[in-house]
């Protein structure tokens, strides 16, 4: 059911990591968090954030429910699931190995 190649780049990794630490957040908050924590270097493609969230939800990595904010507005809040945490570990290992490989190339070239 989960098609990894369908998840673009590192977006799932970032989303999972943020949800794992700050848990339940709505889509806008996720985007803001990513930007804030990376000093605006990583700006989320907002157009691809929501499809990614829905795909991850279908994959069972995150779950969503409707919640009400302090300003009494209905938002769809996402949180990571057990399967999502496992996936996160995998993603982190994968990401580390890729960056390590890229570093190695940069240093030797």
């Amino acid at each position: 059911m989960a098609r990894q190649d369908a998840l673009q780049g590192s977006l799932p990794l970032l989303v999972l990591k943020i949800l794992a630490r700050r848990g339940p957040l709505h889509g806008y908050a996720i985007a803001v968090q990513i930007e804030g924590m990376s000093d605006d270097i990583l700006r989320v493609e907002e157009g691809s954030l929501y499809p990614a969230l829905h795909r991850m939800e279908e994959a069972g990595w995150i779950k969503a429910k409707w919640a009400t904010t302090e300003s009494k507005r209905r938002v769809r809040a996402y949180d990571v699931t057990a399967a999502g945490r496992k996936q996160l570990e995998g993603e982190i290992v994968r990401w580390r190995s890729i960056t390590a490989a890229v570093d190695a190339v940069l240093e030797q070239a």
């Binding site: 889509g27 806008y28 907002e46 157009g47 929501y50 829905h54 939800e57 209905r74």
Partner: protein
Amino acid sequence: MSWFSRLTNAIRPDRLDRDLEAELRFHLEARAEEAVRRGAGPQDAAREARLRLGNALHTRETSRDARLMPWLESLLKDVRFGLRMLRKDSTVTAAALASLALAMGAALAAFALVDALLLRPLPVDQPERLVQLTTLDKRDPHENHTFSYPLFERCRQAARGQLDLFAISNQYPEPVVFGNSGGREEKLRVLYASGNTLPALGTRPALGRLLNADDDLHPGAHPVAVASYDFWMRRFGGDPAVLGRWLRIGTRQFRIVGVTEKRFTGIEPGKRTDLWVPMMMWSVPEDLSSPDSTMFAVLGRLKPRVTAEEARPVLQVVYANFLRERSAEFRADESRAVVDSFLHGSLRVVPAPNGPSRLRETFARPLWILAAVAGLLLLLACSNLANLFTARALAREREMALRISIGAGRARLLRQLLVEGALLAVAASVLAAVFAAVAAPTLVGLLSTTDTPAYLDLHTDWRMTTFLLSACTAATLLFALLPALRASGVSPSDALKSGGRQSARTGTLRPMLVAQIAFSFVVLFVGGLLLMSFRQLTQVDLGFIPKGVVLVRVEATDPNPFSSSYFVPAARVAALQLVDRIRELPGVRSAALCEFGFFSGGWMTDSIRIDGRAPDDDGVAALPASPGFLDAMGVRLLEGRSFAPADIASVPSVVLVNQAFARRYYPGQDPLGKHFTFAVRDGDLAQEVVGVVKDVRLQSVRDPAPPTIFVPLRRLDSTLAVRADGDPWSVVPLVRQQIRGFGHSLRDGDVALQSALVDDDMVRERLLALLAGFFALAALALVGVGLYGVLSHSVVRRTKEIGIRMALGAKQSSVVKLILREIAVVSSVGLAIGLVLGRLLARPVESLLYEVKPGDLGSLALPLALLLFAAALAAVRPAWRAARVEPAIALRNE
């Protein structure tokens, strides 16, 4: 989340849509608020938010696709659209649905029968390892399926290493009385079987035990019976207390020791067994030791890793030895050729995964033919629908072109049209299943005869479902794919440029019409042959008058049916008295006693010896009858005299012979007063011919009368043949009463109408004629409707052309000719193809026909005339409409 949520989302996408909308709206608002907090104006803020989100519609659609099964959702859209299109043309849809449902139902019913009788293996373990033994004599083209018990025993012993052989009897209804039932007699279907039969079949008991090898040891010493599951349910409601119950078959007591498992419905498709009884309990013990009593079917289960081929040699040796021993009993003057052919008989081991079946032998070919005809009917219905879809697609050409030009993919259009077809096919399948559920059991009922009710297990299983599903798919592809391919292949620029003028591409309709006419010709042709054959059969002069005669068994109640008390001279006198009493009953025209009624399946064969003639072994049919028999049966006496009461005791015994006998044994002579003898082991019995009667067909309407003699009846327990003035059933109660009140330990037994026995002989032909007639009518209706539809369509399309022609001075008659030429061309090509196809199918049909030849002028002319008539009828209205085209109006339409 799972496929299930995606499935429900696809079926009900509204909620999903609302959620996605709300989520994105919140995002935009939050982003805008943030911009406002940073000091932007509200309009700039909203704009920035929208820019950062990008294409909101695309985002929503992509998120949406992640949450449901996009293909399913668009398929559902197609279904809804298809339903709307079908509803738009509700009359046409209803007609199409009805014809397809009818054809599919017929095909499904035919399949149900073919499957139950011919294809489905027995419900036992590894049915593919079951075999049947048959023998073949060079002089006889038919395989023989019956063995004597001694031969079976030897085969079983010799081939123990290769296969597990068992013998079963034919199954007859027998009178059975259960203990504690107040002596009520029930007719139950009892099958005598070797003890190892059920274990060898791989059947398990539902209750108690099955028969086993220990029940195979000593004749008469195993008074046990096993009930079938079905019988246990029907008669005892599944009560486990059935174990240990006593029952009486004839004069012998049996105890029920077990019940077979539920899935095992019997060994012979077409027949239900109530009770399984050890072969050792066969009612005539002599049959188990006599090599002359060949009456048992021998089947077996191959041992693991043994093939039928490997099992054959050892059995062949046994059979050859057996034949050699038997040949010692030939008379010394027997012809060399007969002995040789006898000695070279061969034994075969034939696969029998679906058991032996007499019903199958009779009905295999007719059922295949019916299945083929039903298949043709289905093709016919499909081509009709294909025409309809093509016509509809042509009418929607502009819609298609428009949709393609605004970006709909061809595949999408193709799917839309196929879905429309599939909807129709699925609806037709449902109706067809209902139709078949009613029709199939009715057909089985038609296979039944008076004393052998046919029973076929017709429950719906995966085989039926698979068949229906594949028929449904095949039908959809057949009738919807081609039109859909054409319609979706439309070139938008051409279709739109032509400015509403519809292209005249009716060409593809013609091959379909040709196919329709060809198929319907074949159906009509085959149907006509079968109907004519049945008509011929019903017109055969049987040599007697079955109508009005009722046969009543007069049974012995004496425990020993061979008791001499039924044979002594006093009994013979009593027999005459009984007949006299019956004759005096009101409503009875004439009556007589006989050993067998005609067509009751029984006669005695005797070899006769005539001085000065070489002996032959073909034998003559001998029918014992009392005085008055000829009158009662309506057999004409041609010469000499009939039996007189005094003939019972006359010496030499007197006989009546039929024409076939006279022709064969006394060619060119007057048989009256001639003498011959019966060849029996304990001395020859002299006979004198006193009368010659007309030939009477004894067993089958098809077979001419064999050489037959009538001899005086010499026993009391026999059959009363009573000819009534009116309805023969009306005299039955009186006759029964007379028999019961007559004394001499007699009682009244089974009753059968002589005419019903004759009808039973034609059960196959009647069934075929009935169904063939039904199929022929359906085919005629289908082809008529198809032709009409296409012709009307073509007239509408050619309205402008016709208008121009008429404006240029064409007469109405030439316009009509235009239409008629179209139908004439199509019909003649179709008929030519139909003739070729018909000839192909006629070959397997031929052997079922009686005095009808597939090449006859009549058999060709009738379907031809009917088809042309249907075509003409279908052409009337379109032609009339074409002739009425007003040039001015037709051209103004532009």
